[in-house]
């Protein structure tokens, strides 16, 4: 214990003494941690995509689960239950999934284009406002929608008469309904299916994942290859997922390269630090420091820089994300801790392995001598 304290103090004094290089190193490590975090996030997104394509029918649920910010746990649970129920009856529904990433304060939900008989097929109860009338199905009429009571939109205070935006078009909220087996969080008349779904017009109901901001602005984002009817859909889904996988391979490569580069950079930094420390280590070795103590002292030096740097990088990560999101919106933030810790452990292990197996073999005398010359 006495000795550990002594070694820690020594390590700290060394860092303090070599102020400039310590600060440079500190910043480098901080930035160094950010990139693997980002890269691993990307990998996480990738796995997520894979899961979605694996469980086509459960896709809506999966997406809901992952898109919901954690602070909205209770709402998420409710939305999930709702979604699960709706999928029980999804047999005849043409489904399409689209990956939508949560952005900032956004939530997710589904939008359904419903037919006239929808409301008679499924039991539902009007909470506020009214159902669609014949006029709402008219293509030339005003665009209207119904909100499911349990969706966040309704809970966020979007009221009857407000308008929300779906794919650039404004829809006036006509009513809020409670429907235990409802298909969508937002329902629009089936006449607008083509607009909303960008799929075949013969669909009567379709699911889509949307994201929308707190203030009731819906932004919805669909690719053209979205499918409608199931029979047709299966084939088209395959094509769709194939394209997703292609994208995934590219992303995986990109993430891999980023991680590799970062690790190599960090390794070089740490090796540089170790080489720079050779002299101070050689002095200690000449004094007869044991290998264990030497090892610990260098470990402490690294940790004293690395742990605060890691902390700082975790703290600035969200801001960094905002910045990167403005460049690349495909980013999520829940794996950063594992990623950062993983990176840190890896770097420490490599550095120490080099120290343990390589450095000690060089001989004290020659290290001291090189310095003296």
């Amino acid at each position: 214990m006495k000795k550990i304290l002594f070694l820690l103090q020594n390590a700290w004094k060394y860092i303090r003494y070599n102020k400039f290089s310590s600060i440079v190193l500190f910043c480098a490590i901080t930035v160094g941690f950010l990139f693997p975090m980002m890269a691993l996030n990307d990998v996480n997104n990738l796995l997520w995509d894979a899961r979605i394509s694996r469980y086509e029918d459960a896709a809506g649920i999966t997406i809901l689960k992952y898109l919901m910010p954690y602070k909205e746990e209770a709402q998420m649970e409710e939305a999930l239950k709702q979604a699960e129920k709706s999928f029980e009856t999804a047999g005849y529904v043409g489904m399409a999934q689209q990956l939508v990433y949560a952005k900032g304060e956004s939530y997710s939900g589904t939008v359904a284009a419903i037919s006239r008989d929808y409301l008679t097929v499924l039991p539902c109860e009007l909470v506020e406002g009214s159902f669609f009338s014949e006029a709402d199905y008219s293509e030339s009429g005003e665009r209207t929608c119904l909100l499911l009571y349990t969706t966040n939109l309704a809970k966020d205070g979007v009221k009857v008469g407000d308008s929300i935006e779906i794919l650039g078009n404004s829809y006036t909220v006509k009513g809020i309904i409670r429907a235990p087996r409802a298909f969508g969080g937002v329902m629009v008349p089936y006449t607008f299916a083509g607009e909303v779904l960008r799929g075949g017009e013969d669909v009567n109901i379709s699911y889509h994942i949307i994201t929308y901001g707190h203030k009731g602005v819906v932004s919805i984002h669909f690719p053209d290859q979205l499918t409608s009817e199931r029979e047709k859909g299966v084939k088209e889904d395959e094509e769709f997922f194939a394209s997703v996988w292609k994208l995934n391979r590219y992303r995986m490569l990109r993430a891999g390269i980023i991680i590799l580069f970062t690790m190599i950079n960090m390794l070089i930094l740490f090796l540089g630090m170790t080489v720079g420390e050779r002299y101070s280590m050689a002095v200690r070795m000449a004094l007869g420091i044991s290998r264990k103590s030497l090892f610990l002292e260098v470990l402490f030096r690294n940790l004293l820089l690395m742990l605060p740097a890691f902390l700082v990088s975790v703290l600035i990560y969200p801001f960094f994300c905002v910045f990167v999101k403005s460049i690349d919106s495909h980013l999520r933030g829940d794996t950063m801790l594992q990623a950062g810790l993983g990176g840190a452990v890896l770097i420490i292990l490599i550095t120490l392995a080099v120290l343990w197996f390589g450095f000690h073999k060089q001989g004290v005398a020659s290290m001291l001598k090189r310095r003296a010359e």
Binding site: K2, K3, L5, F6, L7, N10, K13, Y14, R16, Y17, N18, S280, A282, V283, R284, M285, A286, L287, G288, I289, S290, R291, S293, H360, G363, V364, A365, S366, L368, K369, R371, A372
Partner: protein, 223 residues
């Protein structure tokens, strides 16, 4: 007692081999003050490093007080350095981030001595080399002569039996060099075995015994 038999040291491999020592046999009694002289590159430092357990010979035997130093593991060798050997270098090799006292106490800390005792012993040692008032000074604020005295105090910290000094006065002016020499003499009088490498024949003449080296071999000895 130090006993070396046919010590050979090679640096490098294949065609690039340097024969730094070409069969050195040497016996140094406890309490002796030995000076080693010779031209630059004749192998003095190499010999001293092997004596101090900082380097290993390529061939030959080395016993220190009956212990086979060449047979020691890295760990045992480190322990040997820590407990038996005090090393003083031409370039001082003080830790810049530590004060004079902390430098002196460094070997004590690695030997597991607590903070309070380290402080006390560092004070005594610094007093011993006449630097009591520079207790809190960092090496950057010390003169060459003072740094070397701190280094000597550090070398003495673990009560070594043998003090090895590689051109301890090489970086100092004549006056400071003599002070260091006087200190070494004093330590020797108290029973310390001292082996000192030097260029300065005048200083070497002050030793009990003078070994002259050339090209990796001992060519003359004077008592």
């Amino acid at each position: 007692m130090i006993e070396m038999k046919e010590i050979v040291k090679h640096y490098g491999k294949g065609d690039n081999v340097t024969e730094a020592l070409k069969g050195i046999s040497l016996r140094i009694e406890n309490g002796e003050f030995t000076a080693i002289t010779g031209h630059s590159g004749c192998g003095k430092s190499t010999l001293l490093n092997i004596l101090g357990g900082m380097d290993r010979q390529t061939k030959g035997e080395y016993f220190c007080d009956g212990e086979d130093v060449s047979g020691m593991s890295e760990r045992e060798l480190a322990k040997f350095r820590n407990s038996h050997i005090g090393f003083v270098f031409q370039a001082f090799h003080l830790a810049g981030e530590l004060t004079a006292a902390e430098n002196v106490a460094l070997p004590l800390g690695y030997a597991g001595v607590g903070a309070k005792e380290r402080k006390e012993r560092a004070k005594v040692l610094l007093d011993r080399v006449g630097l009591a008032e520079k207790y809190k000074a960092y090496p950057a604020k010390l003169s060459g002569g003072e740094m070397q005295r701190v280094a000597i105090a550090r070398a003495l910290a673990n009560h070594p039996r043998i003090l090895l000094a590689d051109e301890p006065t090489g970086n100092l002016d004549h006056e400071n060099g003599e002070k260091i020499m006087a200190l070494l003499r004093e330590l020797n009088k108290e029973g310390m075995t001292v082996v000192m490498v030097t260029h300065d024949l005048e200083l070497a003449a002050m030793a009990d015994r003078c070994i002259h080296m050339a090209d990796g071999s001992i060519i003359a000895q004077k008592n």
